[in-house]
């Protein structure tokens, strides 16, 4: 299980990287492993507002559906459209296959560093 040090994590298993005021959001290695084969991602549109703690889409695996919870509040400025045709990228490359980018970030959830998140996952496993 991989927990990159340069990312922050939400306890709901999204990762965030904030650079130059833009937050890139994806799901963690732990999340993709727990979901199993991802077969569909329901994505928001560019311009949609997202809010900390509120669902901005969902990820469907063969087994189940899981909400994507926004780790930051702001406005969606980019969506990874590749996931529409290749949702399995979330399994094969969870930290490369980002889901959305958010600008005008006004709020952050209580995000964990990689060490604290790893401990959080160990508790849930």
């Amino acid at each position: 299980m991989n927990f990159p040090k340069d990312l922050k994590y939400a306890s709901s298993h999204e990762w965030v990287k904030i650079e130059n005021g833009v937050a890139t959001v994806g799901i963690s290695d732990f999340a993709q492993d727990a979901l199993g084969d991802v077969v569909y991602v329901s994505l928001p549109n560019v311009g949609d507002k997202v809010k900390v703690g509120v669902s901005f889409g969902d990820v469907e695996s063969v087994k189940a559906v899981s909400d994507l919870i926004a780790p930051v509040s702001g406005v969606v400025c980019e969506v990874n459209e590749e996931l529409a045709d290749a949702p399995e990228n979330l399994n094969s490359d969870p930290y490369g296959a980002w889901i959305i980018k958010v600008e005008q970030v006004s709020e952050e959830a209580d995000l964990l560093d990689s060490e604290a998140y790893e401990a959080h996952c160990a508790e849930e496993a």
Partner: protein, 396 residues
């Protein structure tokens, strides 16, 4: 919560890295590390093996065994000859299903009834209420006898290596045979829950089941979990108790004849005589049921799940009973299998009988209305060794 039960293959599943889950009171592998999609595809192209030892296996013997079974099952037990098996349903007094089951006649003087794991205790209690009226015994052999399903195009080649080239069973579906695999006695049944044209279910003494499991893996079969077992049966259009049988989304009993497969499971033959709910079932057959189970595919992108509401022309007409995304192999024009794969979103609907396969229905997927449509079947099983996906353009 009571402790989960484990099959004799539990340690083998854990050693293989399986994700273990609670399934009907059993701690079972939902998938192995490669995942459900890979396991499903391997079964369709090569050979999948499934630990089905969690299912209930009852031995029914005694003078009145036929009379008893004719009463409590929907099938005509007398149409079964030694070396054959049949699909059947245990009906409720009101024309629904307590469970669906398979009845095997390996021996002249006894029958084996295999039931769903999650229903085994309920079935035993229900069948037990009829036992005092008959000179018959029902023995639960689930712990002493284990079971592995071996399914897919390479199943026969793999099993024949173990049998020293001897035939496994006859070619017909539901053929049975007692065979010897590398010195061990195994009872084989040409049945399965995958829709693969080639496949067997094997019954073996619990003490030998780990040996068989490991030999099958050595010979190229791939362990397949309950997740792929579900996607394979869904693609094959096979009902599952608790989804397409039993109770519907709002707790009403699903009549047996709502499932089209029921016509193969229910006999009104004179030879069979009266049985639980016979007249109600005859009425279901002759007059139809208000709602029916229909295989469907999603037209829009997304995934449907059990319990979702279905609408037609603005009116609520039923619910999804099972649904997910399943993978498939593409085939060349000459019928040969390719390396290319796709995925499709399929399921079962329990809808008003007036809804036809041609109608475009709408499914409420968490607030989004997605279009779906009935299909005749998702899988073509008539071109062995492969079960081939029936895709929209090939319909009709």
């Amino acid at each position: 919560m009571s402790e989960l039960k484990r099959t004799p293959l539990y340690d083998a599943h854990v050693a293989l890295g399986a994700t273990m889950v609670d399934f009907g009171g059993w701690e079972m592998p939902i998938q192995y590390p490669e995942g459900i999609l890979a396991e499903h595809l391997y079964d369709r192209k090569h050979c999948g093996i499934f630990d089905v030892s969690h299912m209930g296996r009852f031995i029914i013997e005694g003078k009145d065994r036929v009379k008893f079974l004719q009463r409590v099952l929907t099938s005509n037990v007398l149409s079964l000859t030694p070396g054959r098996a049949q699909y059947c349903i245990i009906p409720t007094a009101t024309g629904g299903a307590v469970d669906d089951a398979y009845l095997y006649m390996f021996d002249e003087d006894k029958y084996m009834l295999v039931v769903n794991a999650s229903n085994a205790e309920k079935d035993k209690a229900y069948l037990g209420t009829f036992l005092p009226e008959y000179d018959v015994t029902l023995t639960d052999a689930s712990e002493t006898l284990s079971s592995i399903a071996v399914q897919g195009p390479e199943a026969e080649n793999i099993l024949k290596i173990l049998s020293g080239g001897c035939e496994i069973t006859g070619d017909k579906k539901n053929d049975l045979k007692e065979i010897t695999l590398e010195g061990k006695t195994v009872r084989a049944s040409k049945t399965g829950y995958t829709g693969d044209p080639i496949g067997w279910e094997l019954f073996i003494d619990a003490k030998d089941v780990n040996w068989l499991w490991n030999r099958l893996i050595e010979l190229g079969a791939k362990p397949t979990g309950l997740g792929a077992r579900d996607t394979l049966r869904l693609e094959a259009g096979l009902p599952l108790y608790g989804h397409e049988m039993g109770l519907d989304a709002v707790g009403n009993e699903i009549p047996i004849f709502a499932v089209s497969l029921a016509k193969f499971a229910v006999s009104f033959d004179e030879e069979k005589g009266d049985f639980i709910a016979r007249n109600l079932l005859l009425s279901q057959k002759e007059n139809g049921t208000d709602k029916k189970i229909m295989p469907i595919r999603l037209i829009d992108r997304g995934v449907m799940r059990a319990g979702m509401d279905i609408y037609f022309e603005g009116k609520h007409v039923g619910w999804v009973t099972s649904g997910t995304m399943v993978p498939y192999y593409e085939f060349d024009a000459d019928g040969s299998i390719t390396e290319n794969t796709g995925k499709r979103s399929i399921g079962f609907a329990y809808v008003d009988a007036s809804v036809t396969k041609k109608d475009v229905i709408e499914i409420d997927v968490r607030g989004r209305r997605l279009k779906a449509k009935g299909v005749i079947k998702h899988l073509n099983q008539s071109e062995p060794p492969y079960a081939k996906a029936v895709l929209p353009k090939q319909e009709k």
